[in-house]
């Protein structure tokens, strides 16, 4: 456990699958130098194979006794998808824009497919995923060189690229498959929670760019902050696949509002939900029942009394309310002071701009 832990909450009721977060992360970190196939942030359609393909069945994590479970190192063409080259040079000759390689699988290939039968009970929702910066990371545990470490100041999990020798046991060890092998430099790389931004007052790129404003970022011990309140106080934000036993620090508000199902005559079935509760249990555990009930109650409360602190937090009217970064804590010159509310107040620090 680190001294303090930066955490993120994503409200899946608001995610529209626009992939702006994916593009923000990609253009910032993974558009070059061997990382082209990596999506440190990805948004997958659930139900679906996810990215990398079938990641939930590729092993890793810990069993209930605490032992590291065996895992599989995913394959570039089969699981991740090879980043295609496109025929930019040919489109001026009126050829259709297409990949140069034979495209059989790629990240997000099964976007919007979902499950069920249209129009009775078809459904899907989006799950944006980044590295969970776990308290008990599978990657850290698997590395025989101790090349992965968890920062004490904010719990960000990082790879020491000087120590890494490219053995890839970390990739087999992560149950979320959120650490990737860079074949150009023969080392593992992963989401760094944009720590160079966070240290200077900016939220991670994925969070700041999110169009739907679904991401809340803050320290887990910041009792005034919305992340603390949603995770620890009201316990409405749940870990994804907590059964992997890594104690992730990225939490999700499960999708509460789904359209009603239709019967064979096309008539809506009262009090039904298109998202089967078993699917949500698989992802977020049994607490999902309580969370759905609580949020539905809050919506009712808002309708009658016009007040709901919880809904105010989830709506997130202002960026300032979504991100509480405690940036004075890092003792570095700040680029942005707007999000510096937090346990450590921004007092006499001189911002750069």
């Amino acid at each position: 456990m680190s001294k303090r832990q930066l955490a993120m909450v994503m409200d899946l009721n608001k995610c529209i699958g626009c992939q702006t977060c994916t593009v923000a992360c990609k253009t910032q970190w993974t558009n070059r130098n061997g990382r082209e196939y990596m999506y440190w942030n990805n948004v997958e359609t659930y139900p679906g194979s996810g990215y990398p393909k079938d990641w939930q069945n590729l092993g890793g994590g810990f069993d209930d006794a605490g032992e590291l479970k065996d895992g599989i190192v995913p394959n570039l063409a089969g699981n991740y998808g090879v980043p295609w080259d496109f025929n930019h040079d040919e489109i001026k000759n009126s050829k259709p824009f297409a990949p140069k390689q034979d495209a059989k699988w790629g990240a997000n290939w099964d976007e919007d497919e979902g499950a069920g039968n249209f129009p009775q009970d078809n459904y899907f929702f989006y799950i944006p995923r980044i590295c969970n910066h776990c308290d008990n990371p599978g990657c850290l545990s698997a590395c025989p060189r101790e090349a992965i470490f968890k920062r004490d100041e904010d719990g960000v999990v990082l790879v020491d690229l000087d120590r890494c020798q490219g053995y890839r046991y970390c990739i087999a060890g992560c149950p979320y498959k959120k650490i990737y092998f860079n074949p150009k430099i023969s080392k593992s790389e992963k989401c760094i929670l944009c720590f160079p931004r966070v240290e200077k007052g900016l939220p991670p790129a994925c969070s700041q760019q999110c169009v739907g404003r679904i991401r809340l970022v803050g320290f887990l011990d910041d009792t005034e902050g919305q992340v603390y309140k949603l995770v620890k106080e009201h316990k409405l934000a749940l870990p994804l696949r907590g059964d992997f036993n890594t104690n992730p620090n990225i939490y999700y508000i499960p999708p509460v509002f789904a359209p009603l199902r239709y019967d064979a005559n096309g008539k809506a079935i009262e009090n039904s939900s298109r998202i089967p509760i078993e699917e949500l249990e698989k992802l977020f555990g049994k607490d999902v029942h309580r969370v759905i009930k609580t949020i539905k109650d809050e919506v009712e409360k808002r309708k009658t009394t016009k007040k709901s602190d919880i809904l105010d937090m989830l709506i997130g009217f202002k960026h300032k309310e979504l991100f509480r970064l405690d940036s004075a804590y890092y003792n570095k010159p700040l680029i942005d002071t707007r999000y510096s509310s937090g346990k450590m107040k921004f007092t006499s620090f001189k911002a750069v701009h």
């Binding site: 558009n31 070059r32 130098n33 061997g34 196939y37 092993g59 890793g60 006794a65 605490g66 032992e67 590291l68 479970k69 065996d70 895992g71 599989i72 190192v73 995913p74 394959n75 570039l76 991740y80 090879v82 545990s141 698997a142 590395c143 025989p144 060189r145 101790e146 690229l161 020798q165 490219g166 053995y167 890839r168 046991y169 990739i171 087999a172 060890g173 990737y180 092998f181 074949p183 150009k184 430099i185 023969s186 080392k187």
Partner: protein, 390 residues
């Protein structure tokens, strides 16, 4: 320990395992792997065994280890007054060169290991990367072919497609890649798992490998005396490791040999005898004793019901464990505690504890057993090794 060995030397017959004899030659310049000069060098065969001491968490690699076999590597050594050259040759049906377009392919490779101190053949470093009190020097080469150099300078973070913005930097970047992407040849010092440290000073040595007709051939040429180890002696120990990329070999997942005596000038007979010593106690009694005393924690062969990280797996210990190491492990287990072992070990199965500032192995000493019982146990352990592939 000394009493044990000298007693046995008189009463049991000796069994020579592997040994490497060298050939002296006047000139060792411009030597290649296919130079005619190698025909004059004596051919020696060293047997390597799959390293199965550690439990891997890579499911596919683990699956492939189940049927792994031992392998012979041909070694020829030429030396003169200042240099020594090693030629290694081994069969490999599949040539695996490192690929920059794959996340799950691994390269073939070979490494040679020397103890920094080897005057006492009964007190050598732990065979797998040494231990905290006994360091090893390692030379390694892997099959790379003009790909951006692994472990490269990560300062080069330029997108090669961003021509308008980066201009000059792109040309420098390309030149730097060319300069770095030659081959993967490194030297290391290690004192146990996770301590492997690359030697970056310019010690002159060359290590190259080339593939021909289903065989890898590798050539290592180095000074007899370098700043780490002096090989200008009669007999010294050497260990060889090879990686087969086809079976997902990398890191500790490889085939390794015991400490093998290599003789340059005059053979130190006693040294060779001690290094190659194999006990001939009562095999059946040994098997029974191992079941009674060791099986509680150690898995070996088909006896594999133990928790995976509880204690080293002994399935191939007869292949890469010299007799003196086996004795040491039984009588003085605190001597070779590998601090970096079992990184994944559950907190309930930690393999050592710290008492009064010193590491104490979770394995108790079995020196209370009779000498004959220990000999029987070692006799049985010596048989735990994979078959050589036909």
């Amino acid at each position: 320990m000394k009493r044990l060995i000298t007693l046995s030397l008189f009463t049991t017959s000796l069994l020579f395992a592997n040994e490497i004899i060298s050939t002296k030659t006047p000139v060792l310049e411009h030597l290649f792997v296919d130079s005619k000069l190698w025909d004059t060098a004596k051919s020696n065969i060293v047997t390597l065994y799959p390293q199965t001491t550690l439990n891997l968490n890579d499911k596919n690699a683990k699956e492939l280890l189940k049927n792994s076999t031992a392998k012979g590597v041909e070694v020829r050594v030429l030396y003169n007054n200042s240099k020594v050259a090693f030629k290694f040759r081994w069969s490999d049906e599949t040539q695996n060169i490192y690929r920059a377009d794959s996340t799950d392919s691994y390269a073939d490779g070979i490494a040679v290991e020397f103890p920094l101190k080897f005057d006492d053949p009964k007190n050598l470093p732990y065979i797998g990367m040494g231990d905290s009190n006994r360091e090893v020097l390692i030379f390694l080469t892997k099959a790379y072919d003009g790909v951006y150099e692994p472990n490269a300078n990560i300062d080069y973070q330029i997108s090669p497609n961003n021509k308008p913005v980066f201009g000059d930097e792109l040309t420098n970047y390309k030149n730097e890649v060319q300069r770095l992407a030659k081959n993967y040849t490194k030297a290391f010092i290690a004192k146990g798992f996770k301590t492997t440290t690359e030697i970056k000073d310019k010690e002159p040595f060359e290590f190259k490998m080339s593939y021909k007709d289903g065989f890898w051939e590798a050539l290592l040429v180095k000074d007899l005396k370098d700043s780490y180890v002096n090989l200008d002696v009669d007999t010294f120990p050497i260990s060889i490791a090879i990686w087969d990329g086809n079976t997902l070999n990398r890191d500790g997942n490889k085939k390794i040999s015991k400490w093998i005596p290599l003789t340059l000038k005059a053979k130190n007979e006693k040294y060779v005898q001690i290094l190659n010593y194999e006990y001939k106690g009562n095999l059946e009694n040994g098997k029974k004793l191992v079941e009674q005393n060791c099986f509680a924690c150690h898995s070996y062969g088909s006896m594999d019901n133990q928790m995976p990280y509880m204690a080293p797996n002994l399935s191939n210990i007869g292949g890469y464990g010299n007799a003196s190491y086996l004795i040491e492990s039984i009588k003085e287990p605190n001597k070779a505690i590998i601090l970096g072992y079992n990184k994944n070990a559950h907190k309930n199965t930690h393999w050592y504890s710290i008492e009064n500032g010193k590491e104490v192995s979770a394995m108790p000493s079995y020196s209370h057993l009779k000498d004959s019982e220990i000999i029987d146990i070692v006799t049985y352990l010596q048989t735990l090794k994979a078959e050589v592939k036909k």
